[in-house]
């Protein structure tokens, strides 16, 4: 085994041929071939570093040379070593490349060092691996774990490699893991021991494990794992994701876990998912690259003209004494000169620009991240910039695609109202309490936050404790939670152990409460309601409590799932209950004969046994139901439901609990001690749900006494009103799938014992699935429910339908066989499972529907309005229903009262086509009418006032190639578009379509996994770190915590970043062209010989050192308009949207100005010194001096913000230059052979002529720019300039001006939206009336 590490590193020989991997434990049962194979799999040692000590230099060089810029640099340096063309001393031309590359190398080295350190830490972690030679588990470093090892993990251990779970200390064979390290999700996920393992029970002997695993080759799909395990008896068991423990997850709530490593090291899913940082290229950068190419063209032009000039010049000279004699023909000399000039003029290509841009963006991000306004004190989270190089894209967004739930809304689902069996329960009090709550929202949330953090810390710190804790804490929990008193429940829940008190504060509807109370009333005589209805109600709430994947944990141990307690009898007299239910459910629940005669306390026991036997669970014997004998029911326990004191029950439970736990050897005496500590624990339950509405529903059910108390893979512990905790055998969970839009659970009904399917899902889906051939009764319920659903939707509530189906035993058996087959199959497992699920979810009986409210986040309407004013088209893409979506759109002012609503719903493509053209025509007509109506030209081109609503199915048609054009044309005429019922794929398709076909900058914002694809497709993806996990954040470029932050992020930071960067890039071009041209002009006076009037050191350093920092300042600090003004005048955003700061014309104007300035900067000194005895480098001195002055002053003219920092940097730059040249000319006597600067600068600068020349040069060079700026800003100032001028006003004038501007633009804004549209378009009644009082035209 010791040699395995080295063996593991060997190249996999058969990997090419082999599509599946085979894994077995390291023992004799493996044949040689398999062993060989397993050794070929990579070891668990990870190396995320790019370099080793030796390979750093060559590899880093190699990587850096992949960048074009560096290649260019190296090429130039190499060129300089060719004697015939060299312009400078070879060493000097190396400086830029060495400087740039060493800066990058140092950065790389530092990053790599950090990676190395973390690798070393990770590889050095210890875990217990079974050593076959020593016959025990030994501690090993992670790096030494290899495929086939059996690894023993304890609670809170981090999983070292991807392992198949073989054993768990949990009696159900469950293991909980937290995947926070992987995807940031902090809830617990259950993992299941491989089924049908020959070795079951508490002891797992690794020696006896001889099964073999065959599974797919390593891939990066976190949610998929397929394979099978072959037991010694050639029995094959399917393996799936539930059996896999992923590397870097944490084991929670499970004491001992044993797994066999199947993927190790870099083959683990965690590592395969570990892709590098995101790299996007911004629009500005693409534009920049074009201009860099122009620079290249310019460079070639200049070099070419020099080359030609040199050839011609040379031709006219024969035997001149100043020519070095050689035999080169003038043409060849011209050719050589071309290359020399490329070296001399290399600075024209702004290579350092790329480095500078990177630095500037880092600076910009630093400021974005430090913005207080983007900080959310509630989450203690600011903005997270994940992509480092697209800050300026934020300032150019034209289309914004927003998810609705969790993005515009809180995604804090609150149960609002429900309808059961066709009767609507409006929950008025609930509505009131919601409103009340809203007022005190902030404080309450803060309070609960601290509460949560304290408890979580506890769970982290006391590891040993938490693992034995569960069963104890459950006692108290279970004992108290079955209280029927609504007030009591409410009271306790209102104290809120949940993340917010909100979710708990469901005030039961009195009417519904009354009805339910009957159930718990001691006397059946009060049963005056329709029994059918009552059974519906019970079923409804049971479904709410059961049909979910909510994990229950106690507040003291939020990481600690409340485990399934031992089964126990309901506290109420069972006979009583059964009688009641028989009565209640006779029409519907055909009780099996055996149960009819059964009245003994053993009822539940048999019920459970039966249920379990049907589930093929391998570890059946260990289920607590079987282990723990059902306690005998003592008469004292007969409940008086409303008044039974809590104490009595807990006492009773204490007694009963002794027996099963003593039989459980694992717990030991420590548990008993803890019981005492626990006695003061509140009976708060924490529900951790996959989606917030699940938790909301469970909470709602709880308010009605239907409390979910605990969950295990096989059972649910539910308290019904009037019963004690009941164990509900959970047969199957058919999890939620976005295609099915529903989820189901198959349970054995705790009271009737039937196999019941509870389904919960989107109303459209459920309504279709509800059996067609239903009774009138049922149809009536459906109709009523549908009406209620429509009402809910109009209110903006999220609706869910609850349905159930009772399965015959035989039916169930049939289905089960198929299901088991599907589960075990390796190929097409997903499809088969979906098929079986569909088989089950038919012929449903509608129970009712719920309405869940999801409030808008704060400031959403304001933000949307500001964004729209900024010229951003806001689209909402949601999976919600049309009505809900429209309602939310109204609420967030996306849809204004004056707007005309166009609806695009159709079932077939042809319809869609005609509809599209009809709508287009309609818009055209109304627009023409409008245009003829008001010919002031205001609204020309600004089409607005239309709002398109399209549903998922129609969207599919619209996205097809033939209809794309029409669809885009239509959306182009609309101010906003809402796509409802859209799938994640559709979302991304829409974003891509708009981005590509219209060539616009798109931004997608979302919070959930369903938004990931859209976020990735958009030019800028923004994730909201909200309720639905971290996937959106992980795939985003920027992560914010509230939608409202978007406003400042785009309008202020986007605007700033864009203008800053654009201006800086332009300045950079200017600077380079201006300086390089000085050298170019000189060629006309040195026979085009490539001579420079500047010392080569100064030449190289001029751009690299002396003038490199000021542009950075410019790019990081410049503010052309204050944040306040940008926020209050969103239309300023259009400046960036239309790329105003960096147009081709601005680029060429800048280049032109650079040419002019360089001409001035060269020729004034030229004429001033012409004919005199000026020396070569003495001539360069005033030129350099004035160039520096011009370049710095130019920036001051261009800057809009100058702080002391700017001036400090300017001063430093100038001083650096002068100090450098002076010192150089003083100390360098022979050092810079052969162009020695000794004594030159000191001499030249001691002459007054120097200063005279510099002064007039600088003034004349900057004169046009200053004049143009002044004239332009006075005669036709742009909006940005006007805003800048407003900024300078005194406060009182300021606000007046801003107001006035707003008013003026308001007028324009509204004029754009034709108010007087013809109303004789077909009016759809479905449109919320409060929202569109004037018009509402809907086709179809």
């Amino acid at each position: 085994m010791e040699s395995l590490l080295s063996l593991g590193k060997r190249k996999p020989r058969k990997n090419g041929l082999q599509r599946k991997r085979r894994v077995g434990a390291w023992n004799m049962t493996l044949d040689e071939e398999d062993e060989e194979l397993m050794r070929s799999y990579s070891g668990n040692k990870i190396r995320t570093t790019k370099y080793t000590f030796l390979s750093f230099v060559p590899k880093n060089l190699f990587e850096q040379l992949h960048r074009f810029a560096n290649v260019y640099f190296v090429f130039l340096s190499a060129l300089n070593f060719v004697p015939i063309v060299n312009a400078f001393q070879p060493e000097i031309s190396l400086i830029p490349i060495v400087l740039v590359m060493s800066v990058t190398a140092v950065k790389d080295m530092w990053e790599d060092y950090r990676r190395r350190k973390s690798d070393w830490q990770v590889n050095g972690q210890l875990c217990e691996v079974y050593d076959r030679t020593q016959q025990r588990y030994v501690k090993r470093r992670w790096a030494e774990v290899c495929v086939g090892d059996l690894v023993l993990l304890g609670c809170n251990d981090i999983i070292p490699a991807d392992m198949v779970l073989l054993h768990s200390s949990d009696p159900k064979g469950v293991c909980h893991i937290e995947t926070a390290n992987l995807d940031g999700e902090t809830n617990l996920k259950q993992r299941q021991v491989v089924r049908d393992l020959p070795q079951q029970g508490p002891d797992f002997n690794p020696e006896n494990f001889s099964s073999r695993i065959e599974c797919e080759n390593p891939n990066n799909d976190l949610r998929r794992f397929r394979g099978y395990m072959e037991h010694p008896g050639k029995v094959r068991v399917g393996l799936h994701n539930d059996n896999l423990l992923l590397r870097s997850c944490t084991v929670r709530n499970t004491e001992r876990v044993i797994g066999i490593v199947v993927y190790a090291g870099h083959e683990t899913k965690a590592m395969q998912n570990n892709s590098g940082p995101r790299y996007k290229r911004s629009k500005l950068e693409r534009r920049l690259n074009v201009d860099v190419l122009w620079s290249v063209a310019l460079l070639f032009l200049m070099c070419f003209s020099t080359a030609v000039g040199h050839g011609i010049w040379l031709r006219g000279l024969k035997g001149a004494v100043f020519l070095i004699p050689d035999d080169i023909s003038p043409a060849l000399a011209g050719f050589y000169m071309f290359w020399t000039m490329i070296i001399v003029l290399q600075v024209l290509i702004p290579i350092s620009l790329y480095v500078s841009i990177e630095i500037v963006k880092l600076g910009q991000i630093y400021f974005i991240q430090n913005d207080l306004d983007l900080y959310n004190p509630r989450l203690d989270a600011g903005i997270q910039c994940r992509a480092l190089n697209i800050t300026e894209d934020l300032g150019q967004i034209q289309y914004l695609f927003s998810d609705k739930t969790g993005t515009l809304t809180e995604n804090r689902m609150l149960f609002r109202r429900c309808t059961v069996a066709g009767v609507e329960y409006p929950h008025h009090e609930n509505a009131q309490s919601l409103e009340q709550y809203e007022e005190q929202f902030g404080g309450a949330a803060d309070h609960t936050l601290t509460l949560r953090s304290r408890s979580s810390r506890k769970s982290v710190s006391c590891r040993s404790l938490s693992c034995n804790h569960s069963s104890v804490s459950l006692n108290t929990l279970a004992a108290e939670s079955d209280s029927n008193s609504f007030d009591d429940t409410l009271h306790r829940q209102a104290q809120g152990a949940f993340s917010s008190t909100m979710e708990c504060a469901v005030v039961p509807d009195p009417q519904l409460g009354q009805k339910l109370k009957v159930l718990s009333a001691p006397l059946l005589g009060r049963l005056k309601h329709d029994a059918t209805e009552l059974s519906h109600i019970v079923d409804f709430f049971l479904a709410l409590a059961v049909c979910n994947t909510v994990v229950v944990s106690s507040p003291s141990q939020p990481r600690h799932v409340v485990q399934m307690p031992v089964a126990r009898t309901p506290l109420r007299s069972l006979e009583e209950m059964k009688a009641l239910l028989q009565k209640v459910s006779l029409p519907r629940f055909a009780l099996s004969p055996s149960q009819n005669s059964d009245g003994s306390p053993g009822f539940t026991k048999r019920l459970f046994n039966r249920g379990r036997s049907a589930t093929y669970t391998p570890n059946a014997p260990t289920t607590p139901a079987a282990r723990a004998p059902t306690p005998s029911l003592t008469p004292t326990h007969t409940p008086s439901p409303c008044s039974t004191p809590v104490l009595l029950r807990s006492g009773a439970w204490g007694q009963e609990e002794e027996q099963p736990r003593q039989s459980d050897a694992d717990d030991g005496p420590a548990a008993e001690e803890e019981e005492k500590d626990d006695s003061d624990e509140e009976d708060k339950l924490l529900y951790e749900a996959e989606s917030p509405d699940e938790a909301a529903l469970v909470q709602a059910a709880r308010a009605y006494g239907c409390t979910l108390l605990g969950r295990s893979p096989e059972q649910l512990l539910v308290a019904l009103p009037g019963t004690g905790p009941l164990s509900v055998p959970l047969l199957h969970v058919l999890p939620f799938h976005s295609a099915r839009k529903r989820m189901s659970v198959v349970v054995r009904h705790p009271l009737t014992g039937q196999v019941v399917v509870y389904t919960k899902g989107a109303d459209s889906v459920i309504m279709e699935l509800v059996g067609r051939k239903t009774s009138d009764d049922q149809r009536e319920i459906m109709e009523k429910t549908q009406r209620h659903l429509d009402d809910y939707a109009k209110e903006g509530l999220r609706t869910l339908c609850i349905a159930k189906r009772v399965l015959e035993e035989g039916e169930y058996e049939d289905w089960l066989k198929r299901h088991v087959f599907a589960e075990a199959s390796i190929e097409n497992r997903e499809e088969l499972l979906r098929e079986t699920a569909q088989m089950l979810e038919t012929k449903l009986t509608l129970l009712g529907a719920t309405g869940i409210v999801d409030r808008l986040q704060e400031d959403v309407p304001e933000t949307i309005e500001a964004l729209q004013r900024a010229g951003i088209k806001v689209w909402v893409l949601t999976g919600d229903k049309q009505e809900t979506a429209v309602n939310i759109a109204c609420a967030c002012k996306l849809l204004r009262p004056t707007d005309q609503l166009l609806t695009l719903n159709c079932d077939i493509k042809e319809d869609c086509e005609t509809l599209l053209s009809e709508l287009l025509e309609q818009i055209g007509v109304s627009e023409r009418r409008h245009a003829s109506g008001c010919e002031d030209g205001l609204a020309v081109g600004d089409r607005g006032g239309f709002m398109l609503v399209i549903d998922g199915r129609t969207l599919d048609f619209a996205l097809e190639a033939e209809l794309q054009g029409a669809f885009l044309e239509l959306t182009g005429s609309c101010r906003s578009v809402i796509c409802c019922r859209s799938t994640p794929l559709q979302k991304s398709k829409v974003v891509r379509l708009v981005g590509e076909k219209l060539g616009v900058m798109t931004l997608a914002i979302g919070d959930g996994a369903n938004d990931v694809s859209m976020i990735q497709v958009a030019d800028v993806g923004i994730g909201i770190s909200g309720q639905e996990g971290m996937q959106a954040v992980m795939s985003s470029d920027f992560a914010i915590s509230r939608f409202k932050h978007l406003r400042k992020l785009l309008l202020v930071h986007g605007h700033w970043c864009y203008t800053r960067l654009a201006n800086m890039i332009l300045y950079f071009f200017y600077k380079n062209v201006m300086y390089v041209n000085l050298l170019f002009w000189y060629q006309f006076f040195c026979g085009f010989s490539g001579s420079t009037m500047t010392n080569s050191w100064v030449l190289i350093f001029f751009n690299l050192l002396f003038t490199s920092v000021p542009p950075l300042m410019y790019g990081v600090f410049d503010k052309n308009v204050s944040a306040q003004t940008l926020l209050s005048l969103p239309q300023l955003y259009k400046h960036g949207q239309n790329s105003k700061a960096y147009l081709p014309s601005t680029f060429w104007l800048t280049i032109l100005d650079a040419f002019y300035q360089s001409l001035v900067c060269f020729f004034i000194p030229y004429f001033a010194y012409a004919g005199s005895d000026i020396g070569l480098f003495s001539f360069g001195s005033p030129i350099n001096g004035s160039a520096l002055l011009i370049i710095l002053l130019h920036q001051i003219i261009e800057s809009r913000t100058l702080t002391w920092l700017h001036f400090a940097v300017f001063l430093c730059s100038a001083l650096l230059y002068y100090i450098f040249v002076l010192v150089f000319s003083i100390i360098c006597v022979t050092c810079n052979h052969p162009t020695n600067p000794y004594g030159i600068e000191t001499k030249v600068m001691s002459e007054p002529l120097y200063y005279c020349v510099c002064a007039v040069t600088t003034v004349l060079a900057l004169l046009p720019r200053m004049l143009c700026r002044g004239l332009y800003n006075t005669l036709c100032p742009s909006d940005v300039v006007k805003a800048g001028l407003i900024d300078k006003l005194r406060p009182e004038d300021y606000s007046a001006s801003v107001c006035q501007w707003q008013e003026n633009s308001e007028a324009i804004y509204h004029n754009q939206n034709p108010r007087h549209l013809d109303k004789n378009l077909s009016v759809n009644a479905d449109i919320p009336t409060d929202c569109t009082p004037e018009t509402g035209s809907v086709l179809s």
């Binding site: 312009a87 100043f322 917030p692 004429f1167 000026i1174 501007w1301």
Partner: protein
């Protein structure tokens, strides 16, 4: 895909708390509310409008015009005389020399040019030789020297730098001084005499010391040390190809002006920036009493020992006599430039003032958006 909200809240908090530390030590992620981090540093926000720019224009105009006038007057006060003695024109006295002379000629050719000063030159008069179309700034020419050798380095003396090729060695002996610059040393001899009214000539004393920069003469250029006898010092070297005599015999009259520290040589070695240039040749010092002008009005004769061929590359040779001022030699350009720029600024200032009055108020208040 799945995470409940409470878990999320906790996540947010966790990252802030940084592990299981006790309560109260949590470090918030809240950004600091400092002027720097919130980008609120007090700033000067220049927006150039007609109103803000026009004072600058007036100020520049008002400063530049007087300076320009001053420069112009100064330049005009400088007296300068140029004599082209190349001998292109057959009527020119040096025509024969120019036609017949090449680098290989052995016998010196002498010619004399007569000229008249209309105005007396006062103060120190500087005598330059000027060359035109002579590209001393050619890239390869400029590099063709060895500063170490010129600085007296003995290793470089016998083993000159490669930059000097092809003037590095001759007959397998190192050239001292090596390189094309030294090789092309200007070697005409100019002598000036005043023609008295009685046709006799009075030679004018030409001072050959002090024409090079102090730093060059004393620091940058040095003879190899070790022996005061330069003949011995340079014994293993050979003279540049075009030279008549070795470097240690450049100035027979003054032993201190020989070798690398010969001032004519130093001046030549400082390469000119432009193809038409002048180099200081001699200084005519003002008379001690300061009463008589240095060069009184009258006729002068310039005797030229014509050694330097320039016709092959269409070059010209000149002799220049000039007085100097604080701003150097005669150059009216700068004064004109100042006056022009100043005037333009002033005019623009007036235009801007007009614009500011007419449109200036518009951009600040009244009708903001259009």
């Amino acid at each position: 895909m799945a995470s409940s909200y409470n878990a999320k809240d906790e996540d947010g908090h966790h990252s802030g708390s940084g592990g299981p530390a006790g309560p109260g030590v949590n470090k918030s992620k809240k950004p600091d509310n400092t002027a720097f981090k919130q980008q609120r540093l007090p700033a000067w926000q220049p927006i150039l409008t007609a109103g803000t720019v026009l004072p600058a224009f007036f100020v520049i105009g008002l400063i530049f015009i007087p300076i320009g006038i001053g420069l112009f007057v100064t330049s005009n006060n400088i007296k300068e005389l140029e004599i082209d003695y190349t001998g292109v024109d057959p009527s020119s006295p040096c025509y024969d020399c120019a036609q017949n002379y090449s680098w290989n000629s052995t016998a010196p050719c002498v010619c004399s040019v007569e000229f008249t000063l209309d105005q007396p030159f006062e103060g120190n008069v500087f005598m330059y030789y000027g060359l035109s179309n002579f590209y001393q700034n050619h890239r390869r020419y400029v590099k063709s020297r060895d500063d170490s050798q010129l600085n007296g380095d003995k290793v470089s003396l016998t083993n000159p730098s490669k930059e000097c090729e092809p003037y590095r060695t001759n007959d397998k002996k190192p050239i001292a001084p090596c390189g094309a610059i030294a090789n092309s040393l200007f070697n005409d001899t100019l002598e000036l005499s005043h023609v008295n009214p009685n046709k006799t000539r009075t030679p004018i004393t030409l001072v050959k010391k002090g024409i090079a920069w102090w730093t060059d003469k004393h620091v940058k250029f040095r003879n190899p040390s070790g022996n005061s006898n330069l003949t011995i010092v340079f014994q293993n070297t050979t003279k540049p190809v075009n030279w008549r005599k070795p470097v240690y015999e450049l100035d027979p009259s003054d032993p201190e002006n020989n070798g690398f520290i010969n001032e004519d040589f130093i001046v030549w070695m400082r390469t000119a920036a432009l193809p038409t240039f002048r180099k200081l040749y001699r200084i005519i010092q003002k008379s001690k009493d300061n009463l008589t002008p240095t060069l009184p009005r009258g006729t002068y004769v310039l005797d030229i020992t014509y050694n330097y061929p320039v016709l092959s590359f269409d070059g010209r040779k000149r002799m220049i006599l000039s007085t100097i001022s604080w701003m150097g030699g005669k150059n009216p350009f700068l004064g004109i430039a100042y006056i022009t720029v100043g005037s333009i600024c002033f005019v623009l200032g007036v235009v801007l003032l007009f614009i500011h009055h007419k449109y200036g108020s518009r951009s600040t208040s009244a009708d903001i958006p259009n």
